[in-house]
Symmetry: D2
Subunit: 367 residues, 4 copies
């Protein structure tokens, strides 16, 4: 309950600091009989890992994951799966200069106050490096969802600073360093990021995730609605400050006659709801959008205080992403996979007899 545990039936428990020995975790509740190898996890880890383009941190981590248990002769056994990723490129001396001051916009101050002490090296546990294990865990969930249920989860960058990016072609998101599905904007992105790096500043971003072929019925009213649990999962990603389902904040200015998705024998005619009605999946695509703040680790000097409350100036050197939103794409996919997986097992536990029936409607018409 100290916050490093996620899920109810399909659970993930993680540990590890940015500059510690290793990151790791335990996945509990994975159904038996799923074909699984380290290679299945490595694909997404490689998408998230640092040092792959000039737009991400220069820290080089191979992020090689080991499966320590729970898989026997190539299949999951139903018992807990231990995961381990060793840290290899820690440069802790980079951080000794910030030992006694609080970097503004970071967790330094709040960790110090909450716990009375902190591992200041690279932000310790508060570093987004921790998300590597989420991505590995999410890859297991993604594999089950795809192999057994046909669910596909795809994320993409939908805005970077002022540049809006449409989901023109989701098949190209893994072919460019921005997870961008809008080929026409790639040059603009490149130029924007080059200028940004020169200025030593950072920029916010918007990330979107879509899940297709989700069965009807996932989500537990009243408090554990599917959208509520997605919001929890997404707002729990480092730097996220906003979460939307379907039309999101645009609904504030919508009328009921405009917002509600009509139903026809052929399916829903629109998807303002983002695939969730009354907290339960409707069979339409699930649509989620996240707002990620610009990282506060920049070389622009900033005003702060030290651990004694005295004035200080901070310039973050270290190695940082100028736009943390970019690498958040595989993380957001992983978190959505974890939520869907958990809710699938919960739904099946309570409603196994019902949930095998054919739904009244097909999904959205566009499928």
């Amino acid at each position: 309950m100290a916050g490093n545990h996620f899920g109810r039936l399909f659970t993930v428990t993680t540990f590890g600091e940015s500059h510690g020995i290793a990151l790791g975790g335990v996945i509990d509740g994975c159904p038996p009989g799923l074909e699984l190898s380290e290679a299945d996890l490595q694909i997404d880890l490689d998408r998230r890992k640092p040092g792959t383009s000039r737009y991400t941190t220069a820290r080089r981590e191979d992020d090689v994951v080991k499966i320590l248990s729970g898989v026997f002769e190539g299949k999951t056994t139903g018992t807990s799966i231990g995961l381990l990723i060793e840290n290899t490129d820690q440069r802790s001396k980079d951080y000794s200069n910030i030992k006694d001051i609080f970097r503004p916009g970071h967790a330094d101050y709040t960790y110090q106050q909450k716990y009375g002490l902190r591992d200041y090296r690279g932000g310790g546990r508060s570093s987004a490096r921790e998300t590597a294990i989420r991505v590995a865990a999410g890859a297991i969930a993604k594999k089950y969802l795809k192999d057994k249920l046909g669910i596909e989860i795809t994320g993409y960058l939908s805005q970077l600073g002022p540049i809006e990016l449409a989901p023109v072609d989701l098949s190209i998101t893994n072919d460019n360093p921005f997870f961008c599905a809008d080929a026409a904007k790639l040059e603009a992105l490149d130029e924007y990021m080059r200028d940004l790096k020169k200025s030593g500043d950072s920029i916010g971003a918007k990330v979107s995730v879509v899940a297709c072929h989700v069965p009807v019925g996932l989500g537990e009213p009243v408090f554990d609605r599917l959208d509520a649990d997605i919001a929890h999962a997404m707002m729990g990603i480092n730097a996220v400050k906003g979460v939307e389902i379907g039309d999101g904040f645009a609904v504030v200015e919508q009328k009921g006659s405009e917002h509600r998705d009509a139903m026809t024998p052929q399916g829903f005619t629109s998807n303002s709801a983002g695939g969730i009605l009354g907290g339960i999946s409707s069979g339409q695509d699930i649509l989620v959008h996240l707002a990620l703040k610009p990282t506060s680790s920049i070389s622009v000097p900033g005003e702060t205080v030290d651990i004694n409350g005295q004035s200080a100036e901070v310039i973050t050197k270290g190695r940082h992403d100028p736009c943390v939103g970019i690498r958040a794409v595989p993380i957001a996919e992983a978190m959505l996979a974890l939520v869907l997986m958990d809710h699938f097992l919960r739904h099946r536990g309570q409603n196994a007899d019902v949930c095998s029936q054919t739904p009244v409607l097909p999904g959205n018409l566009s499928e």
Copy 2:
């Protein structure tokens, strides 16, 4: 785990349908020795209850709450608190016409598919009527937070359709039927709503909540960050489609030098973070914004299907709020109170020795 349970140390478990016998719940984990009476709960219930203005549903429910246990000689005993609100104005015949069809934008279809059957009367368990118990539970949390920790939680309507509403004077929110803090806009709101009612349509809204004097240290990294749990709580309110903390989606276009809140010996100089850093409260005001969709229960005819998948038309008669966002204000306050209360107990459980120390910084300068 079927979704009607909220929280970890301060928990709320609820039951009850829109047109059933009663709503009720159990609050578990309330510290002993808190002075508590039914009147403390009734204040917020009266703010939420239907039938108080011409802008809300015409259903009349007194929403009188009874405390059945857990309070002895005017004080909480530390044992579970049973709450009961009897339904008095159910008009179930209003709903017989929608027994066999699915209202678009409602949970009818997803409940039917998830469970294989449903209580169709007024939406059954999916009705927002269920939130009455959340408000009652939240009132207990609010009282503890205020009496023992000095925390104050205030919600207000920040936008209704196209009309933006600034937090000019939070002290007036309870003096008008809109929970509006912007006196200059009251007439425009009134006019807008009158026109809307005539059209038989409904409108979306934005609601904001502020918590002042929150101590530093609440929130559990990694997954149960304070903001993640707030997002879970808020997205779990009926009709909510988006949640923001602090600057929210505006961060997408912000630069790091602009977003990060500087720290000075006098406190933070701004509050873009919305009072949360690294998932832990910083001592600044906590700022949350929600987007609420327009209700789908409108008298404008809509296209749908019946339980056999055949085409049908629906006109919702019944009694409905043209803007469900308005009455969501006390609900959002209640949910924020529940999250803060739960995290206060969790923090104290793990870090009791540390959390009694004086923080390095005061809260935000504006206080």
Copy 3:
């Protein structure tokens, strides 16, 4: 997490004090489509209720239960079920004399120390009166287990003080006031209890419960083994001081060659294990035994202290069971039903595909 919540997927949350307004609870996670009425719950409540024989407390409570939600047109809907039992025969003045002293062997002292105050009337929340709601909740689980899975759960008194009682004929347990399955001992029990009542003292007892036709596969290793969760459920019944599965403490003197239950193509040839291997049900009968202490509420004077730590003498008047073990029989059945129900849903959630297969072996040969 304050202890009034039981289970993971099929959950029970309760409230209510011995001399409060009412007892109640919420059952969450019941699968939809189960035929259920108040009469189904009342049967077991009537078996547990006080005042039915001269061997139980003279307090008269009808223990009439109301279902407030979660059932529509005679069937469960899959949403939370609210239960309520009003207290009718509270005689709180009986207890004013013990307001300021701690009854030895009771929870008075520990509640006072834990919470700083207590509802002293009849023990408040610590009274076994609270178990009425457990029995009602258990009746729902029992009905599902029997209707859908064919599982039958039967409890009986297996020892009262020095009188050992064999499970000669389980069909007679509801026909005598002792839940005794050993007709030859009824007269001896009657005589023993008459003498005991005269002496003003009380006596311990042993209760046994059997579950037949349990499918193979229930129970989650490592920590939530089926036996571990049964032990938790049983030791949580008021006055229980010991729990055994299968041969229980007799295994201390057994050899491996003697203890292990041989397996043959026709099934197991014995049941020392009590139906659980490696924490998972084996398909054999589940056998559980409990030791219940004699109630400390007796008219024999006892030495104690008051709330200021000063010496005092206590004679409990009130109305009490001379052997609380007797009425524990339906409570133990209810708790076993709750554990099996919860584990059935958990197992089905994770292993739905596997768990529908026919097991290699039938259950025990004796069936």
Copy 4:
């Protein structure tokens, strides 16, 4: 929720099979500021590890534990602690002969039925080898309980087959291979075990654990009583078939006047309750007793079936403990420490203000 997770506020999540790559786990919720090193954990691991005497399995494992996170500059940081123990002496070929048959008295059959497949090497996840991580986790809890609260937890062997062992001198339990506190019986134990080994059979045992200086107030009524959670923890240890608190099954024949522990201004005059009243610690010593069955892995031939349900004979070769009860002593201590630690944090979370007050009574008079 798949069973590899323990606790609420101080939690342990584990993974690893008998013949897999490694065992490991995550401890979450440890308060910050506790001095902790690997040496603190190794002490108890060495007490439990195999191969230390001729009375335990010949498998040689050094059980060297690594702390991978959560400790910085010698102190816990409040974040999750990752633990790892690599397996070094796996001889998996020993087990190929039992790949297709079910060893009677083992989890082979139930795992196969539950999951549809199993890691048969040394019992896979069902092996008691998994308890190494529990012991490591328990050592952290023990250190906190001792350093911060003065609680001491001591286990001892209280019976081995027919030989009863009194707690004559708890200081000698670590000086003999039996964890025996009764020096006069050491020779008899030695002789008994020598004869047993020759016969190729195994024997049951009784283990007892005492916790001294436990503060009043730990335990959450109604369901999560301290004794209920202890029973859950203890019955979850491999091979345990019975759990007693205080007088345990002896209460069946006790009278109320005999059982209830009198209270005097100097403290309780006896401890039949075993330190728990109404599910809450009373300040007296907590007394727990466990019954452990004889291991079923013996060289005496046994009747069983293979995975096709056909008759088969089994002789377990491998390397096994003739009395698994002996090595259960440090495991039982660890589990009691985990329960007390968790309940201490839960109690402090809800009742921090009350729980710092001086109790009315000292503990038991014998202290």
